[in-house]
Structures are given as structure tokens and as C-alpha cells.
């Protein structure tokens, strides 16, 4: 039942990551590439690469039928969706199932259920997991006002079919919430084809913490510690850490217990991450959502636990039991990941596709770089602009920051603008070092500070 040949339905650094994990388990690999990615690192490392379609994602990576057709015709018995693209679209595991291809992830119905944020909240509530004080579905503007009065302002109107920070509107009083109801509903309908809204208390100074989970599909769920992803810009993470050093042990234990209980209550299968809002002032944690896939920032959890999460994904998908106990997983040391993008922070983070003319990465103790890039490689214009993840470990957070600063100073990339310079500013900032940051810190404090400095 172990996987014999794996189809990798993604690109960039995660495709390379999955190919490497498969090779470590002696699994053959076929990568589906777009015409823009035929010379990619994953295509070169895999046993075979097949061209799905032209560059634009909608004609290649986002076409589930193309992807599954390719997997079937190349004799693959399993498929890994990576992150983004189709990784949380139930049609992919459904089509895989119809064609005898094992899906490396949860069942289609679970992906559907967790993708509906209202249903996910209900699951969490049923498992006794604390939620952000909030509402069920809001049927009207009057309803919105009533709920907001009950919850307490400010409130956040959210799309049930949304996620990842999309389709959210803040309201500070009754009039704003009624107006916001109409706006948010229309935006949700346009973006997700579903205008259903609910509401949550808006926490001003929050940290984003999440728990890495792995389930065997039969009720056994393990956690691999938590991550702190509070350095964000427009709800996109820039820096992630493991563990969350700003959380007392008792609360951390509650976080792990809640996340694991939720996943176990639904017999969660394969990798997933439960995301929480951490209200530092109130010292409370609230469930936000579950991401039913491997995440970009999984390496920090790997570094502090010594576990290969993608490897576990493949083994579980291949029918192996989750032959590990919670006590076997120890978190030691501290890891920090910087997502390096080909973007120009000076030009409002405009993505800058192009050719890398110089690629001089850092190296040495405690440094891991997950990247598909190299000198001479091109960044196509069709996809996100992430060119690599720099992950640095240390015995303590302070040591990790020291090593990270040195690594960022050594990291030279030419040919495209990158966010390496911005990361240097972040990790040297006193707030970051003191770890008093929150999810709006980058946009409210650091970036405006930098703009002033540039003038």
C-alpha cells in the first residue's frame, strides 16, 4: 500500500521539497509543470516532468482535470497538492479518488467542511475549543447591529466562505456595522460566490499562533508544537517562529490540547494546522480556522522537533500507521523563518519577476534554505513572488536572531529586488527582539518608521 509513484501537483520550492521527501522514501516522482516551469529545480530533480499547459495558473496548476489526467497517465498512485493552488479544493481529492489515485491530505469532505468557516467554528465549539467571541450567520444589517452590540465593539465581519484574511470588514459602532454588512456581503458574493457572513470580536493587539497537527484518519492526532506568525502584512505572513516564545507554558499546553482535541474529534487525516488568535492582554486564545494542508512555514516546526513533516504526510498517505507518540516529539531550541519574495518594498511591494543574475545564499551552522532558485533562474510573472525561505535555528530565540541577522547580511541576490533588506530591518528592530510584536505591528509601526527614515 506504500506509495510507489507520486505526482507532485505544485511548483516552486514546495514541489522541490516534496520531491526530496519522496526520494528519501524511495518513492518515484512525476512533477506536473506549466510551460513556464519546464527548467525548474523540481522538474530537474524529479524522475519525470510533464508539461500540463501554458504559464497562467488557471490553464495549468489550477486545472484539477489536467492535473489528475497527468497523474493517471503517468502511472502515479498518489498525488501531493503542496500548498495554495488546488490544495484546499475538494475537487482535487474527489477526482483523485475517482481515478484510483491516493490523495496526500485529508478526505474531500473534510476539506469542504473546514473550508466553510462557520462549520469549522461549529466543529471547534463541539470539541470544547474556545472561539473568538462571535456570532453564527448574520442574516441582515439589523441582525449585525444586534450581534455587535452583544459582542462589543469593534467587530469584524467575515465571509463564511472566505479565509486567509480575505473578505473582512471592521466596524467600530452600530452605524458602521450596518453599512459594513452590505459591503462585506457584496464583496463575499463577488469573491467567493457566497455572501454568508458571521461576526467576531476584533482584537486590537493579537498574535497569530498556530499548531502543527498530523492525524492518522482513525482518531489519533499528534501535534508538533506551535508557531508564532505575527509578522504580517495584509494578512500575509513574512516571518514565522517556533515555538511561540511569548506564551506562558500553561496557556501553551491549553493551545496544544485544544488543537489536538479538535482534529481528533473529526478523525482528521494527514497534515493540518489549527490557527488561533492570541489575545496577549487577556491571556486568552481563540480558534480561527484550520488549514487542511501542509503550510509554507512547516520548516520551523521541523527544525525544533527534528521531524520530517512532509515525510510523515507521505507515509500516512501510503497507509503507514502514525508510529509515534506525543512524548516522542520534543520541542527544543528556537527556529525563525523569513519568507524572501521578489518584491520591491519601496514600490509598495510590487512583485518583480525577472532573472536572477547573482544568487549568493548564506550558509553555516543552523541555516536551512528552502528554495528552488539559483543563479540564472527566472521568476515567471504568473505566480506568487516567493523565491525562498530562510530558516535559522538556535538554542534560544536570541541566538536564532543573532544567526538570522548574520545570514541575512550574507544573503546576496541580484537581478530582481527582494525583501531581504526589509527582513534585516525587522529582525534588528527592538520590538522584534523584545518580542512585543503583534499582527498589525509591521504595518502600524515598522513600515511607517522605515518610510520616514527613507525621506
Amino acid at each position: 500500500m506504500a506509495i510507489r509513484r507520486l505526482f507532485v501537483a505544485n511548483r516552486g520550492e514546495i514541489a522541490l521539497r516534496v520531491v526530496r521527501a519522496a526520494q528519501a522514501l524511495n518513492i518515484e516522482t512525476v512533477v506536473g509543470v506549466s510551460a513556464a516551469d519546464t527548467e525548474s529545480a523540481a522538474a530537474k530533480l524529479a524522475d519525470r516532468a510533464v508539461v500540463l499547459g501554458p504559464g497562467p495558473a488557471s490553464k495549468s496548476y489550477l486545472d484539477a482535470r489536467l492535473v489528475v489526467h497527468a497523474a493517471r497517465e503517468t502511472g502515479c498512485d498518489a498525488l501531493h497538492p503542496g500548498y495554495g493552488f488546488l490544495s484546499e479544493r475538494a475537487i482535487l481529492p474527489r477526482l483523485c479518488g475517482q481515478h484510483g489515485i491516493g490523495f496526500v491530505g485529508p478526505e474531500a469532505d473534510m476539506i469542504d467542511a473546514l473550508g466553510d468557516k462557520l462549520r469549522a467554528r461549529a466543529m471547534a465549539a463541539a470539541a470544547g475549543v474556545p472561539l473568538v467571541p462571535g456570532s453564527d450567520e448574520i442574516a441582515s444589517a439589523a441582525d449585525a447591529r444586534r450581534e455587535a452590540d452583544r459582542i462589543g465593539y469593534p467587530v469584524l465581519l467575515k465571509a463564511s466562505a472566505g479565509g486567509g484574511g480575505r473578505g473582512m470588514v471592521i466596524a467600530h459602532n452600530g452605524d458602521e456595522v450596518e453599512a459594513g454588512f452590505h459591503k462585506a456581503s457584496a464583496e463575499a458574493m463577488a469573491a467567493f460566490n457566497d455572501g454568508t457572513l458571521f461576526m467576531e470580536r476584533f482584537v486590537g493587539r493579537a498574535r497569530h499562533v498556530e499548531v502543527q497537527l498530523m492525524g492518522d484518519g482513525n482518531g489519533k492526532v499528534l501535534h508538533f508544537g506551535e508557531r508564532d506568525c505575527s509578522v504580517q502584512r495584509r494578512y500575509q505572513k513574512l516571518i514565522e517562529e517556533a515555538p511561540c516564545a511569548a506564551m506562558p507554558d500553561a496557556l501553551r499546553a491549553q493551545l496544544h490540547t485544544s488543537a489536538t482535541a479538535l482534529a481528533a474529534s473529526v478523525n482528521y487525516r494527514n497534515a493540518g494546522t489549527a490557527e488561533f488568535l492570541y489575545d496577549v492582554e487577556r491571556q486568552e486564545i481563540y480558534f480561527i480556522e484550520v488549514n487542511a494542508r501542509i503550510q509554507v512555514e512547516h520548516p520551523v516546526s521541523e527544525m525544533v522537533t527534528g521531524q520530517d513533516l512532509v515525510g510523515w504526510q507521505l507515509r500516512i498517505a501510503g497507509g503507514e500507521p502514525l508510529a509515534l507518540e506525543q512524548d516522542d516529539i520534543r520541542v527544543s531550541g528556537h527556529a525563525i523563518e523569513c519568507r524572501i519574495n521578489a518584491e520591491d518594498p519601496a514600490l509598495d511591494f510590487r512583485p518583480s519577476p525577472g532573472r536572477i543574475t547573482r544568487w549568493s545564499p548564506p550558509g553555516g551552522e543552523g541555516i536551512r534554505l528552502d528554495t528552488h532558485m539559483s543563479e540564472g533562474a527566472t521568476i515567471p510573472p504568473y505566480y506568487d513572488s516567493m523565491i525562498g525561505k530562510l530558516i535559522v535555528t538556535g538554542d534560544t530565540r536570541a541566538q536564532a536572531i543573532e544567526r538570522l541577522s548574520a545570514a541575512l547580511a550574507d544573503f546576496r541576490v541580484e537581478g530582481v529586488p527582494t525583501t531581504i533588506g526589509l527582513h534585516r530591518e525587522i529582525v534588528s528592530h527592538p520590538d522584534f527582539v523584545a518580542n512585543t510584536i503583534h499582527t498589525r505591528w509591521l504595518e502600524q509601526t515598522l513600515l511607517p518608521g522605515l518610510a520616514i527614515a527613507a525621506e
Binding site: 524522475d47 499547459g53 482535470r65 489526467h69 503517468t74 502511472g75
Partner: protein, 159 residues
């Protein structure tokens, strides 16, 4: 083998081959393998022969090659228009199994002529010639998966 082959012997073999006018020569015995070809487009297909690389599964035997069926050397296609697969899928030469193929070698086509199907998960799309002319090469095999951009036909647009 009693003694290893010497460089002068290989040179003599090559000279004989060139003088002979043969297209190909394969020599193989224990510890030694030599492949000579007079076709400038000949190339080792190392990937497919590596034991660890997955072979294309369930491939039917190659159809008996005529001068212009199957993958052609780059020189053969000089000056012709290549029709390529718009995306990955299964290549079909006929509208339905058992029916005659859309086109055969030598067929005259217009730009709008449908010349094959590419199927993805039971969704069939007809591919059009794109240019008026004559079909000179059929470059893909009926019922086999083709990749996006893979050459399917060559058309002589001047003929």
C-alpha cells in the same frame, strides 16, 4: 574477452562504417558497447534507458515507422509548421474509436480543419490545423498522453 579493444581498432571500425554507407552500427560485447549513426539528429535517450526512471506505462509498441510517422529529427521538420498540443491530454486521431482518422499523411487542410482531439478527463477538444497546407508528419501516437506544447503534426504550408 581476451584483451581490451584498442583505440586503433575503434578508429578502423569508424572508418569502415563511414565507407560502408550504412545508417547505423551497434557493437556490443562484454565490457564494450559502441553505437554509430549517420543521422545527425540521432541522440541518446538516456533518461528512458536509466533503470530508475519510470517507463511510460502501458505504452503500446511503436507503430512500424514510415518515413514521416513518430518523432522526427529536427532537420526533417525544417520549413514546416508544427501543430502542438494546447495542453496535456490524451491524443486521438479519430472523432470516435473505429471511425476514420481526421487526417492521414498527405491530407490537405485549411486553417480551420479539425485534425485531432486532445482529451482531458472525458472532455474532448478538437485541435485545428491553424494553417492551410498538407500534412507531412504525424508526430504523436493515437491514444497516448501528450504534453502541453508537444508536436502533433507537421504541415507543409507552401504545398
Amino acid at each position: 574477452m581476451d584483451k581490451p579493444i584498442r583505440p586503433e581498432e575503434i578508429e578502423a571500425l569508424v572508418a569502415e562504417f563511414e565507407a560502408s554507407g550504412c545508417a547505423e552500427l551497434h557493437v556490443r560485447f562484454e565490457g564494450f558497447e559502441l553505437h554509430l549513426s549517420s543521422d545527425p539528429a540521432a541522440r541518446t535517450v538516456a533518461r528512458q534507458t536509466a533503470p530508475s526512471a519510470p517507463a511510460e506505462p502501458d505504452s503500446p509498441p511503436r507503430p512500424a515507422p514510415s518515413a514521416s510517422s513518430g518523432p522526427a529529427g529536427a532537420d526533417d521538420l525544417d520549413g514546416f509548421e508544427i501543430v502542438r498540443a494546447p495542453y496535456l491530454g490524451t491524443f486521438y486521431r479519430a472523432p470516435k474509436p473505429g471511425e476514420p482518422a481526421y487526417v492521414e499523411l498527405g491530407a490537405t487542410v485549411s486553417a480551420e480543419s479539425e485534425i485531432c482531439l486532445v482529451e482531458v478527463m472525458k472532455l474532448f477538444t478538437a485541435v485545428r490545423a491553424g494553417v492551410a497546407g498538407t500534412i507531412t508528419h504525424i508526430l504523436a501516437t493515437d491514444g497516448q498522453m501528450v504534453e502541453a506544447g508537444q508536436p502533433l503534426f507537421a504541415i507543409d504550408a507552401k504545398g
